[in-house]
Amino acid sequence: MNVNVGDKLLGYATDPGIRNRGASGGLVTAVLAAALERELVEDVIVLKHINEYEAVPIITDDVDEVLASTGSMHTVPVNLAKHATGKKVAMPGKPCDVRGVIEQAKRNEIDIENTYIIGLNCGGTMHPVLTKEMLINMYELDPEDVVGEKIDKGKLFFKTQDGEEKGISIDDLEEAGYGRRESCRYCDVKIPVNADIACGNWGVVGELAGKATFCEVMNEKGVRLLENAIESGYIQVEQAGEKEIAIREKVNSAMLGLVDKWTEKIFTDIPLQERMKYYMEQFADCIDCGACKEACPACTCKEESKCTMYHNLADDYKMSMYHMVRLLHLSDSCVGCGQCSDVCPVDIPVTTIFRRFADPAQKKHNYKAGMTLERPPFLEVMLK
């Protein structure tokens, strides 16, 4: 079967083992394994399973390690972009992973031609510790009994060892302070159209529900990825029907509807005269760990960076140069992935602060970071 840019396909792994172990028919795992086996890439980035709530990214050239990797996990809010720097790799990625890769590529840290990205639809991820707390408090389940989770029709379901399935509305969970991470609630890229192929289970209905992946081919690299996997016998695909395409779009629209609600709720207006005070207060408990920079998938500066170069612990400015420089830097590169908030040791909502600062400028320039290589970062263009 010929694959073309723009194709919308349904596919699954041909190997029953991969099909049953991987999520949604194991297509993503199979495509990654094929890319490695047939030397389309030298390495693959995958998540190594630690437990039901934790996985850790690893880079491997071992097909068996790829096949043993974990599938999509809602409780593993990592960003894989920085793992791809300087390598010829294939990787899965949520929209924010892909956006991070593109920001790295804009700054010449990633050769996008040598980086194959299998995008994964994402309605949002959850923090593992809060998820366990939520299971106890909201679901009345023992976190250790849980063997799987899924999102369906606006509800988050957990399955236990004895086969019991319990679902609660995501709205209700989030109103109670659980559910998706804050940055995921206002993230407005749910289908990774910036990847080489955009995959997910949205739109997979009927007999194939849960057994196949909906896959949109976004560019020529996506064609190569899929053809490579088909030729090597790793996957089978067929064209998606209008019904499947329409359902996928409907799910996406519903997710984006939630985004509008949360955006309005979180980004309340701060009067001009109070804005400086707001930023100073938000950063007042900062302990200067630098974790927000280290975890940022858009940052390519390494040790010699603008934000740290003019900053010293002994400085007692009302707001540190570190934060001032990062606010500016992130105004045209923040992809809103939430990593900085996740790793902040004093719980500063860093992502939301950066998004608040970046959004007006990005809107003004009709610019969304990490979506395409076609447009360079506007701030750097202006500085030239």
């Binding site: 709530y53 690893i58 760990c289 974790a291 719980d347």
Partner: protein, 492 residues
């Protein structure tokens, strides 16, 4: 490309922050965030974020020359057998199983392992519950918190717990240190003024214990807890400080570091055996520590990383880095946490040494089993003490007797992970009071000259509101003579 990923805990302090250490096929290390870790949710302080720099390759040596482990163990055995005044030191920088193995050697030598904490000797055993720590959830529930540490610098991962407590309505009082953003009040109180804190049985006192702690200060705080019914939580440095005090505690000697150094100076200790414990890094006056250690006949170091004491040692027995070890650690919350590593080089080396010394050999599984038993016993024993209700714990508390000469200031160490391991950080400055800036006529961006009996040093300064006469530093300074040093100051 083949990466190894180790699930481990930050060695910087006793909070027990989980993290991953990633090792690529060229041996390069990097960290990754373990977001499922309940102690820290994957969050790390500036020490943890730069942790890859902490680990340094170490080689087994005999009198400075590289050697096989077996040869080093034989040499160690000969030196130990020929000495009759031995001290052993393990402050808690390694896993419980290695600490247990170290106590086996102490048993064979009919001696004890010292943890550097003498406070355990100062309190009756039924009062040790006050030192045991407690879950951070207790911190979040307290109505009033009296802080005797600077959490931002010393134990950064409790800042978020304190902020949660504050959101829950707690009032936070910072006592005797610099102005803290999260504190409702910063109080420069002397010990005889602690009653003005008005704490009660819904309050929590937070302080720390470490090898340079002032035992009288700790006793005063315990007395305060007893009098008011407040809970007390002692934080600790080192990955396993809590484990070192708990595992085989009847075999723990509890000499302070200062006492050990005094005994070396007096010739009462002629051989020192250390397990991942470096007195040069730990003591406030590194230069004096080096001179004292040079007076030993035998300095035998079992260590997982290179540090100043490994340069001075007669024998170094190198073990794998802490993140690679098989073993468990106990956090200040009382969590028993286990590494994913499988390295047992340290255990095997100590087993071999114990065998050479005439004791029984052992393996990791035996040590691990013993550790589990110790933890179970300790849990049973401590169950009765967790409410901090033991009475008659404090006696013989000395009056505060600071003697700062006129026109001098008290330079005090804000002990933090970088300081405990004497590692480079962006902290070469002192923190001084606004009043002092005026007195010295200092200008923004200027320097201050500090002088003590050990010399002079020029440093940048940072402004804060401090108790009068106090100067703080988060960096070990060569002019320091102790945890507190009298200094004179001038602008320059």
């Amino acid at each position: 490309m083949k990466e190894s990923v180790y699930q481990t805990y930050c060695p910087g302090c006793g909070i027990g922050c989980g993290l991953y250490i990633r090792k690529d096929d060229k041996g390069n290390l990097s960290i990754d965030y373990m977001k499922s870790s309940p102690a820290n949710l994957g969050k790390l302080c500036r020490f943890g974020v730069t942790l890859a720099h902490h680990y340094s390759e170490i080689k087994t040596t005999v009198t400075g020359s590289e050697a096989d482990v077996e040869d080093a163990i034989k040499a160690a055995e000969q030196r130990i057998q020929s000495s009759d005044s031995i001290a052993m030191l393990s402050v808690g920088n390694t896993c419980n199983e290695e600490h247990m193995a170290f106590t086996r050697i102490a048993d064979t030598l009919d001696t004890k392992v010292h943890t550097g904490l003498s406070i355990y000797n100062e309190l009756a055993s039924h009062c040790h519950g006050y030192l045991a720590g407690m879950p951070f959830a207790e911190m979040e529930k307290a109505k009033k918190i009296a802080l005797f540490v600077d959490p931002y610098v010393q134990y950064p991962l409790i800042v978020r717990r304190l902020l949660i407590a504050k959101n829950n309505g707690a009032k936070i009082l910072s006592v005797g240190t610099k102005k803290l953003n999260l504190a409702d009040e910063n109080l420069p109180l002397e010990p005889d003024e602690y009653e003005t804190l008005e704490i009660d049985n819904e309050s929590l006192i937070i302080a720390d214990i470490h090898p340079n702690s002032d035992d009288d200060h700790i006793k005063r705080l315990i007395a305060l807890a007893q009098e008011t019914g407040a809970k007390i939580h002692f934080l600790r440095p080192f990955i396993n400080g809590a484990g070192a005090s708990l595992i085989e505690k009847e075999k723990i000697g509890n000499m302070s570091l200062a006492q050990i150094m005094e005994d070396i100076e007096a010739g009462n200790i002629r051989t020192l055996v250390t397990l991942d414990s470096d007195p040069v890094e730990l003591l406030p006056d590194a230069e004096a520590a080096v001179e004292t250690l040079k007076k030993l006949d035998n300095l035998i170091v079992i260590s997982s990383r290179k540090s100043p004491v490994t340069k001075l040692a007669d024998i170094v027995i190198a073990t794998e880095p802490v993140y690679m070890k098989a073993g468990t650690f106990i956090s200040v919350e009382g969590r028993v946490q286990e590494n994913s590593g499988e390295g047992v080089d340290g255990i095997d080396a100590m087993s071999l040494l114990n065998g050479e010394l005439g004791g029984k050999t052992f393996d990791y599984q035996q040590m691990h089993y013993r550790v589990k038993k110790c933890v179970e016993n300790a849990e049973k024993e401590m169950a009765g003490h967790t409410d901090n209700k033991a009475s008659d714990c404090v006696s013989d508390v000395k009056e505060v007797s600071r003697s700062v000469p006129e026109d001098m200031y008290e330079l005090s160490y804000l002990y933090n992970p970088f300081m405990w391991f004497d590692q480079k950080d962006d902290n070469d400055f002192v923190i001084i009071d606004r009043k002092l800036v005026k007195e010295l006529g200092l200008k923004k961006g200027g320097m201050v000259l500090l002088s003590s009996e050990k010399g002079k040093i020029r440093l940048r300064y940072m402004l804060s509101d401090l108790p009068e006469g106090l100067v703080l530093t988060a960096k070990k300074l060569p002019i320091a003579t102790g945890a507190i040093t009298n200094v004179s100051m001038e602008g320059c």
